[in-house]
């Protein structure tokens, strides 16, 4: 019995994590929601745009995606408040990125609302992913 468990554990954890980015599938779901012609340039503009912080915010610093993910996407970022390291966003150096739909939904929602004060549209999410995919 114990060997069986050992085998299960080894098979479960020792195999290299086969993360694969699911950006193409995500883009399809955005198309199903009415978006089309995703554009890396538009995505880049959204990614770099600075938004005014809400009036009641602790820090008046303008907000942007770069605030936590950093200027160079091939390098680690850090959470602006807690300092916790955020692994690089660029697929070229971090192939684990964009591999889980639930995680992407969760963070698009949290981060768009925090930075822009509203959720991102399907078009915006598609544009941003198209831009990020090329990094």
């Amino acid at each position: 019995m114990r060997t069986l468990w050992a085998a299960v554990l080894i098979l479960g954890f020792a195999s290299p994590a086969m993360a694969e980015n699911i950006i193409p599938e995500m883009l399809k779901t955005y198309e199903a929601a009415g978006a089309s012609h995703f554009d890396a340039k538009a995505g880049s503009a959204l990614w770099h745009k600075k938004y005014a912080a809400p009036e009641n915010a602790e820090s008046p610093k303008p907000r942007s995606c770069q605030a936590c993910h950093g200027v160079d996407l091939t390098k680690s970022g850090a959470h602006i408040r807690t300092g916790k390291v955020i692994e690089p966003m660029a697929l070229s150096v971090n192939p684990q990125r964009f591999s889980e739909a639930k995680k992407m939904r969760k963070w698009f929602r949290r981060n768009c609302k925090w930075v822009m004060g509203r959720v991102c549209t399907a078009q915006e999410k598609g544009d941003i992913l198209t831009y990020l995919q090329q990094q």
Partner: protein, 179 residues
């Protein structure tokens, strides 16, 4: 006599319960129960480490995990999809300080007997008291720590074992802490 016997049995039962807290010579209920839940880790462990449930009473977790509260979580957005929110809430409440026999949790719960509901672990009277002698320059003024909320920066065995005792503390940038 019957009362004495009852008391005696109760005492004895408690004794054996505590005796079994020793496992291979390691006291098992020393720190905070080191419980893990993968949904909790991914829901609450990406901006800061996922705080052990045993560091706050259930009523605090309930308040923190309210959907509106998650939208403005100390100025951040920590929203969750509803099934995840409910699963995480249940995990936190089930293992909360007021449900635990672990030494630190018991002390945390006891220091909140006034019924207050802190949203921060760092505002629990017991935790505040334990850190009151550490100078600000070692916490806020310390780039490697930044905030008392970053427990793991100093408590080197907290993450794996839930141990917070003085022997395992090391403040980054300062020699072994001894007072």
């Amino acid at each position: 006599m019957i009362r004495f016997l009852l008391l005696f049995t109760a005492f004895f039962a408690a004794q054996t319960a505590f005796a079994s807290d020793n496992f291979l010579g390691v006291p098992r209920f020393k720190g905070v129960k080191p419980v893990f839940n993968s949904n909790y880790e991914s829901s609450c462990g990406e901006c800061h480490f996922a705080y052990f449930p045993g560091l706050l009473p259930g009523r605090s977790w309930k308040k923190l995990m309210d959907p509106k509260a998650l939208e403005d979580h100390f100025g951040e957005n920590a929203e969750l999809e509803e099934p995840d929110r409910l699963e995480v809430l249940n995990f936190l409440v089930r293992n909360a300080a007021d449900q635990s026999h672990y030494k630190r949790s018991v002390k945390i719960a006891r220091s909140l007997r006034d019924g207050s509901t802190p949203l921060r672990i760092t505002e629990v009277p017991y935790i505040k008291r334990k850190h009151s002698e550490i100078p600000a320059k070692m916490i806020k003024g310390n780039k490697k720590v930044r905030s008392l909320s970053n427990c793991l920066k100093c408590h080197t065995q907290a993450k794996e074992k839930g141990i917070f005792d003085e022997d395992t503390v090391s403040i980054p940038g300062y020699r072994e802490w001894d007072d």
